[in-house]
């Protein structure tokens, strides 16, 4: 077993374990923390595949923005610190059966895929070139500029919406109240 395989197995185990604990944790804050660990495990997997940009973007977007947002939202709900009810409901067998069917379907699909060499991940020749290609593809007329612009409009709409929601119910002639 090479070092890469060992690290991959360890990371995979940690990611899967953390993902399981997200669902099983009785406290919401703990569930959010296990989610962060799972996302960090995914970032390590990206590093193993030599996709450095994706790994760093994964940490920057998921852990530093989305996870913090999740924790803040959890804090804004009441009764957060109290241990919740039992995490296993009455119809757990239904969930178990559907999960097993899903797993079976995935295994069948993966068996049908042609896999030639499974030893090492394909080494990417020039990551700088890939990064530049990614940047160019986002603004290329033939490629991804339309989704890029639509995403920016969506973000702008979300920003304006949040400002509108957070705007204080203003009273007249109060001045700006700043400084």
């Amino acid at each position: 077993m090479t070092a890469t395989q060992f690290v991959f197995l360890l990371t995979g185990a940690v990611t899967l374990g953390a993902a399981l604990l997200v669902v099983l944790s009785p406290r919401l804050v703990h569930a959010a923390l296990w989610l962060i660990l799972s996302l960090a495990g995914t970032a390590v997997l990206f590093v193993l595949l030599e996709a450095s940009f994706l790994a760093v973007v994964q940490v920057a977007i998921y852990i530093d923005a989305i996870a913090i947002l999740i924790i803040i939202v959890i804090m804004l709900t009441r009764r957060v610190m109290i241990r919740g009810e039992a995490q296993i409901t009455r119809n757990w067998w239904l969930g178990a059966i559907s999960a097993l069917i899903f797993l079976g379907g995935l295994l069948v699909l993966l068996n049908m895929m042609p896999i030639t060499a499974i030893d090492t991940p394909p080494t990417i020749a020039d990551t700088n070139q890939l990064l530049e290609d990614l940047g160019r593809s986002l603004v290329d007329v033939d490629r991804f500029i339309l989704p890029f612009e639509v995403a920016s409009i969506l973000l702008l709409a979300a920003l304006i919406g949040s400002i509108m929601i957070a705007w204080p119910l203003s009273t007249r002639a109060e001045g700006e109240g700043d400084q």
Binding site: A3, R27, V29, H30, L33, I36, S52, F53, V56, V57, V59, A60, I63, D64, A65, A67, I68, I71, I72, M75, M81, T127, N128, L131, A173, G175, D178, Q179
Partner: protein, 394 residues
């Protein structure tokens, strides 16, 4: 001797490697052990440097405030930090009732980890750095924002309303100032053509990026001071308002870790400013003799750190609404405009050399002049409104 001076770090690496392989280890395992050793030495060195940094800060702030600073323990009070550390270590670790033990213990670790992890990508000398990744700038942003997470965890898990208030304020400040930080970080990326820190330092061979983009350097500097939570943005530790902010319930060495993380973070952003805008290890003769490059890097970082301490000793604390206004009304638009100006000038001026530098500098100074004029007009309007509240209201 010439080879040692020309490439001291490579020579040392070769020495250790031949030693370990002579003991019978396989080459792959030797690489692993050497990498581990390098990471350990870097982390340890940076943390031990904090002792000196805290002493320097206390002395300089004391002199600005017309007093002496620590001068009893050891010559010039150098061992004062050691004494404080011993005190912190021997204090009782009090855990509040009802605190969530997982995040409570994890938060100081994350705070220190995020700061020490930043040192992995800073190029200290021509061939001396932790990891040469080609997305170094983005790595700085992402790892630096883990400290935001740690503060949030610390505040939430402390079972204390003041801690939660302090944590939310802190997170609001850090998330707000991350926006102009990233925008200002794009400018050296643009000028160097790559996100890797090594390439950014190499591109400053002829001229520092501070000369080409002073507005971006200033915005980066101010935003990083706000990100760290140093004065004048230290409303997180405003004793008169929040007792102690998010780390009220931390005592002993856990508080010590937050303490160390804050001071080290201030030094780390000085190192980043020196790397991105002041040319890192560049200097006369640094390319041939890497030790000279290390020396230049140290001097530049110390200079920026001195400015950070100077700012701490000079300005009053900013209120939270002033901080928000400053960020969203001034610094973020300025960062956006500076980025656009730099991009446009970089594309329009095809000449390399003095003309390009002159046009960049001129555009930036024009931007600064317009900003100052706009600020003055705004201040005049506010002053007029304060003096005449009823007259001009329509």
């Amino acid at each position: 001797m010439d080879q040692i001076l020309g490439d001291p770090f490579g020579w040392f690496n070769q020495l250790l490697r031949s030693l370990l392989e002579g003991w019978g280890l396989s080459p792959g395992f030797t690489s692993f052990v050497l990498n581990l050793l390098g990471a350990f030495v870097m982390g340890l060195g940076v943390l031990l440097l904090t002792l000196l940094l805290i002493w320097a800060e206390r002395k300089i702030v004391a002199r600005i405030q017309d007093r002496l600073g620590p001068n009893r323990v050891g010559p010039f009070g150098i061992l004062q930090t050691v004494a404080d550390l011993v005190k912190l270590v021997t204090k009782e670790l009090i855990v509040p009732v009802g605190a969530d033990l997982g995040p409570y213990n994890l938060a100081p670790l994350l705070a220190v980890m995020s700061v020490v992890g930043l040192w992995a990508v800073v190029p200290l000398a021509p061939r001396l750095l932790g990891a040469d990744i080609n997305v170094g700038v983005l790595y700085v942003v992402s790892i630096g924002a883990i400290s935001t997470l740690s503060i949030l965890l610390a505040g939430i898990s402390s079972n204390n309303k003041y801690a939660i208030l302090g944590a939310f304020r802190t997170v609001a400040q850090m998330v707000s100032y991350a926006v102009p930080l990233v925008l200002a970080l794009i400018v050296p990326t643009l000028l160097a053509g790559s996100m890797g820190m090594v390439e950014i330092v190499e591109e400053q061979r002829s001229i520092w990026f501070l000369v080409i983009a002073p507005v971006a350097a200033l915005i980066f500097f101010i935003s990083s001071i706000a990100e760290v939570g140093r004065a004048p943005f230290d409303l997180l530790e405003a004793e008169s308002e929040l007792v102690a902010g998010f780390h009220i319930e931390y005592s002993g060495l856990r508080f010590g870790m937050f303490f160390v993380a804050e001071f080290l973070h201030a030094f780390t952003i000085s190192a980043l400013t020196a790397t991105l805008f002041l040319g890192g290890w560049q200097g006369p003769g640094a390319a041939e003799y890497p030790l000279l490059g290390l020396f230049y890097f140290g001097i530049k970082t110390a200079l920026v750190y001195f400015v950070v301490i100077w700012i701490r000793g000079s300005f009053p604390r900013i209120r939270i609404d002033q901080m928000n206004q400053l960020n969203w009304k001034l610094i973020t638009p300025l960062a956006l405009v500076s980025l656009m100006v730099t991009a446009v000038v970089e594309k329009l001026v095809v000449d390399m050399g003095l003309i390009r530098i002159g046009v960049h500098l001129g555009a930036n100074l024009l931007l600064l002049a317009i900003t100052l004029w706009a600020l003055r007009a705004y201040a005049r309007a506010v002053r007029r409104r304060v003096e005449d509240p009823m007259g001009s209201q329509t």
